[in-house]
């Protein structure tokens, strides 16, 4: 279906170019290189928008743009757009008359070639399914392979960077206090988070908080990572600042953090003995 749409889109782009392109002004002053630049820009913008849409949640933008595989992905789009333009310029395509020598012809050719090239690059002639995965057979396979590499490398880079940032942010947060309110606030701060995503994050946090084998510190870190994956580091930081001391680990007046769950022995002993006396008296 995707392949059919891509081919259909390419045909529509060609038709639009032919029908409406004749009125476009010539690219005065740009000489021969202008259309090439325009075509390349179409390729670069398409590739970049795709990457940003894919990694819009919780990804550091400099990390994305600096990733060599992401750069390669955009570069492939640019190259294909330029090749498309070259083909359109030099080859005689049946039914396609772009009239390159006419005013606006070069511009028309650049736009048509750029768009058509992007659509054809994403097309697949057939799809082969093995198990749960579907593999497109066609030009789209190249982009899929590149995207997988970008995914893999970005995940590694994100994991390290995110972990360090979340470690710093969550160091004073009490996991038991933050479990409900921090996630709710952080997710509400994002306008476009779906209810399903919010529910998934809540379930993940619920599963973390009930684990008896984890230290509180580890629970706080895992909760921070779960929220950061969806909301990003900045939203997480802002949510913690908004909640203030309500969700922080209480410090003793001596400045050292008290081990949670250990009462001051003398005080508690008195209370406990009285509670036991009360219980005996209250029971029938």
């Amino acid at each position: 279906m995707k392949a059919l749409l891509c081919v259909l889109g390419a045909v529509i782009a060609l038709w639009v170019g032919m029908t409406f392109g004749s009125g476009l002004p010539p690219i005065d002053g740009m000489g021969l290189i202008g259309p090439w630049i325009l075509c390349g820009v179409i390729g670069a913008v398409t590739g970049s928008i795709e990457l940003m849409q894919r990694y819009s949640r919780g990804t550091n933008l400099p990390l994305l743009l600096g990733n060599p595989w992401a750069i390669t992905y955009v570069a492939v789009n640019v190259v294909i757009a330029l090749i498309s333009y070259q083909l359109v310029r030099t080859e005689s395509i049946p039914g396609l008359n772009l009239s390159l020598s006419e005013p606006g012809g070069q511009l028309r050719a650049a736009i048509v070639a750029g768009i058509a090239g992007m659509l054809l690059l994403r097309s697949a002639f057939v799809s082969i399914r093995t198990g749960e995965r579907e593999y497109p057979v066609g030009p789209g396979l190249l982009l899929d392979v590149l995207i997988e590499q970008v995914d893999h490398r970005l995940d590694q880079g994100r994991a390290v960077q995110s972990f360090q940032e979340v470690l710093e942010i969550m160091k004073d947060v009490d996991a038991t206090k933050a479990a409900v309110s921090l996630a709710s606030l952080a997710l509400q701060m994002l306008e476009r988070t779906s209810k399903d995503t919010q529910e998934e994050v809540r379930k993940e946090i619920d599963a973390i908080i009930v684990r008896p084998d984890l230290l509180l510190r580890a629970k706080a870190l895992l909760i921070g990572i779960a929220i950061q994956k969806v909301a990003g580091v900045n939203v997480l930081k802002q949510a913690i600042e908004s909640l203030g001391s309500e969700i922080l680990v209480k410090q003793s007046s001596g400045g050292e953090a008290r081990d949670e769950g250990t009462p001051t022995a003398e005080n508690w002993d008195k209370i406990e003995s009285q509670l036991r006396a009360a219980k005996s008296s209250l029971l029938p």
């Binding site: 769950g261 009462p263 001051t264 005080n267 209370i271 009360a278």
Partner: protein
């Protein structure tokens, strides 16, 4: 000032999610929470049966706080529940002594307080322990050191 035990919230949340199944990591606390729920239910029924407006209103607060405590997993809501029990005690003795027809309510109240004592001592929760002790002092003043 001691903070609440690490597993308090996780135990409470377990209770909310699976109240009648034995999946809690701390079975004894789950059992305590189940017993507390049962005693609160009995107290609620007795208050409603009394047809006294104040008792009926306070007992409905009881359940709202109970639900909130276990939905939030917050010890603060258990403290609010303890305060409501205190107010119920105030209504029972508003005329200076306990009317005969309210003896059952008083017994239910004492039973609920016993469950809270169990919870506070198991969790070693000083704040909850202090508050429950204040309430217990009103119920059985002769058995508790007023200086604690």
């Amino acid at each position: 000032m001691v903070t609440t035990s690490n597993d308090y919230q996780s135990n409470v949340r377990w209770f909310l999610e699976k109240p009648w199944k034995g999946n809690s990591p701390t079975g004894s606390v789950r059992a305590q929470l189940n017993t507390l729920q049962a005693s609160l239910m009995r107290l609620f029924e007795d208050c409603v049966a009394s047809k006294d407006q104040d008792l009926m209103k306070l007992s409905s607060h009881l359940f709202a706080e109970y639900q909130q405590a276990f939905q939030e997993g917050s010890p603060n809501s258990i403290l609010a529940l303890t305060k409501t029990l205190d107010r119920i005690h105030g209504v029972l003795y508003r005329d200076g002594e306990l009317p005969g027809q309210w003896a059952a309510i008083s017994a239910s109240l004492k039973h609920a307080v016993v469950q809270l004592i169990e919870l506070a001592t198991t969790q070693r929760d000083e704040q909850l322990g202090s508050q429950v002790l204040d309430l217990a002092r009103k119920l059985v003043p002769e058995h508790i050191d007023p200086t604690v």
